[in-house]
Amino acid sequence: MDPQPIVVKGLRKSFGEQQVLKGIDLAVNKGEILAVLGKSGTGKSVLLRLLIGLEKADAGLICIRGHETTNLQMDQLNEMRLRVGFLFQEGALYDSLTIAENVAFPLRRHSKMADSERQEKVRTLLHSVGLDKDLEKMPADISGGMRKRVGLARALALDPEILLFDEPTAGLDPITAAEIGMLIQKQREERNVTSIVVTHDMHAAHHFSDRLVMLKEGNILLTGTFEDFQKSKDPFVAQFLSDAA
């Protein structure tokens, strides 16, 4: 049996005096979409940054595709990163490159595709996120929703097995947010991609995720389906649900 794509045990992280994660245990199954919820500053984004190796954990264990990643050398870490796509909150597109060049960037670096093949792949990726036009526009000339779509296309460029999303629907109108949610689900349906979606949008999380995790003050408060959350008597969870309604 294949190991779970993401396993986290006793994960701790502090910044100076501030303890952000106080011992997180988490496991995500193959093809599952897990939404991580919580107030701002509860360590949701830090969790994603630890998973991709942008931050180093103080203690605990992270296993990606069955391999421990907490103490990897840079080469091994980069090897792991090729299998993981990351969508940053604001898209994090390279300002100096066009939309098409942004999506082509990982392909240029990590594949031996011919130019024509690469251009075709870029067009296919941008088409899959609903962007067929404006390929030569600069990131500064497109909307926030489009930037996230381009960011998603770039994250998908190397056909990752795992996708990490940092607030993919934040700051978007409900229609665009729903479209992003559908794109996340589409990855699972088409390629059985495993996803972790950090969000504070309970409504969106309910629509596109299989399971929810609620973080509070650096700990996991509750894990379960949306129905489990609805049944919860915890006042914090209840408030989160009522605010989302």
Partner: protein
């Protein structure tokens, strides 16, 4: 009803502990050391980022050329105008071409180029990398398994090392040319005679070491600016701070390096 107005509480200014200043300085140099080791490792790891390097040659070199040429020209004009009166007073008017070429090639050209480039290139690198840092573009690069020390820092530092001596030659040439024009406006003299007389008094060792020392200035500008940019924190305000500190620190280190390098040049190439 009477109201009592209480005196405003005296504002307590935070005291600056000199030890904090010293420790933050040591911390800065420590981080710079770690940064340099990472960049040096990345620089010698294949494959080399040729396309980004060429792009940086254009960004730091071609685009800085007009400003450097202008600064060199102004130096030449000012040197010519200022020196002429003094030389006439001492009856050494004929020494003007030699004095001008010697001054520009030996010190004015290199240091003016270094300081102007630290403003133009240093601010550019500091602001660009700072902006990339606060908008998570550098994180995105790292998450894509691309080493930002190699792709962003090493290419910029190498471009600065290559470009500064070339810009210095351009500044020298503009300075000499404009010095001749300024002189000719007062007392017509052929360019060929001016250059021949000027160059006669300058040996190759007067030209080469001072020109090549600007490669060190380039290394300082590239390293300090990339370092300041890549450690930016605090949004757009932080980007502004990084751009400013890149220029200030680069200029400071260039001036210090110039003193040391001039001394070394005098030791190894005695006149």
């Amino acid at each position: 009803m009477a109201t009592s107005v209480s005196a405003p509480a005296p504002q307590v200014r935070p005291t600056v502990n000199p030890m904090d200043f010293v420790s933050s300085g040591i911390e800065w140099f420590g981080e710079l050391g770690v940064f340099c080791v990472r960049v040096a490792k990345a620089m010698f790891t294949l494959p080399f980022e040729w396309s980004e390097f060429v792009h940086q040659l254009d960004a730091t070199g071609s685009k800085s050329l007009p400003l450097i040429a202008l600064a060199g020209s102004a130096t030449g004009v000012v040197l010519s105008l200022q020196s002429r009166a003094s030389l006439v007073r001492f009856g050494a008017k004929g020494m003007l071409p030699t004095m001008l070429v010697f001054s520009i090639v030996k010190e004015m050209g290199p240091i003016i180029t270094g300081l102007v480039a630290s403003g133009r290139i240093g601010a550019g690198i500091g602001a660009e990398l700072g902006s990339m840092k606060v908008t998570e573009q550098i994180d995105a690069m790292e998450a894509s398994a691309v080493n930002p020390y190699k792709y962003l820092a090493a290419t910029r530092i190498l471009a600065c090392i290559v470009v500064l001596p070339l810009l210095t030659i351009a500044a020298d040439a503009c300075g000499i040319l404009m010095g001749w024009i300024a002189n000719t406006l007062t007392e017509p003299i052929s360019l060929q005679y001016f250059i021949n007389t000027g160059i006669n008094g300058v040996s190759f060792s007067d030209f080469l070491p001072p020109t090549l020392k600007t490669a060190v200035f380039g290394m300082i500008i590239g390293t300090v600016s990339s370092f300041q940019g890549m450690r930016t924190r605090g949004g757009t305000e932080g980007v502004g701070r990084s751009a400013t500190s890149s220029v200030v620190l680069s200029s400071l280190f260039i001036i210090l390096a110039d003193v040391i390098l001039v001394r070394l040049i005098l030791v190894f190439f005695p006149t």
